[in-house]
C-alpha cells in the first residue's frame, strides 16, 4: 500500500498527526457526553492545523488554530452550555437508519479510496523541493488576495457581516408584546 515509502521526519510526523486526527474523529463519534464531543472536535481542528503546516500552508495553519480551535470551538461550548448540555446522547437503537448510514458512508469512502489508490490514476509525484521554497507564505497570500482575488475577498467580508448581523438577530430574544 505504501510501497516505496521512505521513512523521514516528515512521514513520521504525518502518520502521528493522522493517527491523532482519526482518533479524535472516532472519539467524536463514540463519546457519550456532548461536551466531550466538542472537545474532541477541538483536537481535530488542531490536528488539521498540523497537517496544514506539513502542506506548507503556514498562514492557514495559524488561521485554523485561531478561527476553528479558538473561536468556533469556544462558541460551540457556549452553545452546548446554553442548551441541555448535560443530556446524554440517547442510546443508539439499531434501526434501518444507522445501518444504511454505515453502508452509505462506507460505500462513499470505498469509492474514494479506490479512486485514490487502485484506479491507476497517475497522481503527480511529490517533489522533494517545495514549490514555495524560500517564499513568504503570508506575503504570497496577501498579494494574491489583494490583487487577483480582491473582489471575492470583499464579497466574503460582506457575507461575514451579513452572517454576523443575521446571527445576532436570530439569537436575540424576541420582545414579548
Amino acid at each position: 500500500m505504501f510501497s516505496g515509502l521512505v521513512i523521514t521526519g516528515q512521514t513520521v510526523a504525518f502518520f502521528l498527526i493522522a493517527l491523532f486526527l482519526i482518533a479524535c474523529g472516532v472519539m467524536l463519534l463514540s463519546m457519550k457526553k456532548v461536551i466531550y464531543m466538542a472537545i474532541s472536535i477541538g483536537g481535530v481542528f488542531i490536528g488539521a492545523a498540523a497537517v496544514y503546516i506539513l502542506l506548507e500552508a503556514d498562514f492557514l495553519a495559524f488561521a485554523q488554530v485561531l478561527v476553528y480551535a479558538g473561536a468556533i470551538t469556544i462558541m460551540l461550548l457556549f452553545a452546548i452550555m446554553l442548551t441541555k448540555h448535560d443530556e446524554l446522547e440517547r442510546p443508539a437503537v439499531i434501526t434501518a437508519h444507522p445501518v444504511w448510514s454505515v453502508l452509505g458512508t462506507a460505500g462513499l469512502g470505498l469509492i474514494v479510496l479506490w479512486v485514490v489508490k487502485f484506479s491507476g490514476i497517475k497522481w503527480p509525484q511529490a517533489t522533494a523541493d517545495s514549490p514555495f521554497q524560500g517564499q513568504d507564505n503570508v506575503k504570497m497570500i496577501g498579494e494574491s488576495l489583494f490583487s487577483q482575488y480582491v473582489i471575492p475577498f470583499e464579497l466574503v467580508s460582506v457575507v461575514l457581516i451579513v452572517a454576523l448581523v443575521g446571527a445576532i438577530t436570530l439569537a436575540n430574544k424576541e420582545e414579548k408584546n
Binding site: V51, K84, W123, P124, L145, A167
Partner: protein, 102 residues
Amino acid sequence: MLSVEQFLTLGAILFCIGLFGALTKRNIIIVLVSVELMLTAVNINLLTFARFGLTPSINGQIFTLFVMTIAAAEVAVGLAILIALYRNRNTSDVRDQDLMKW
C-alpha cells in the same frame, strides 16, 4: 517522502467520519460540528493539491481561506438558529425538528 495519496486518504477518512456523524448524531450541535469536520477534510484536499498538484500554486490556499471564512459564518448562523430553536421548542434533538413532515 510524502505522497499525494496519503493526504487524500486522510481527507477521505475524515470526510467519511464527518458524514457519518452528520447523518447519525442526534444533537444539533454535533451535527453542525460534523459538517465542520467534513469542511476540514475538504480543506486538507485543497491544500494537498496546492502543494503537490500538477501546477502547484497559492490559489489552493486562497480557496481554503475562503472556505474557512464561510464555515465560520455558517457556524455563527447555525448556532444562532439553534439558540432560537431551542428557545422555542426546548430541545436540541435533530429528530424533534420534524415540522415539515406529512
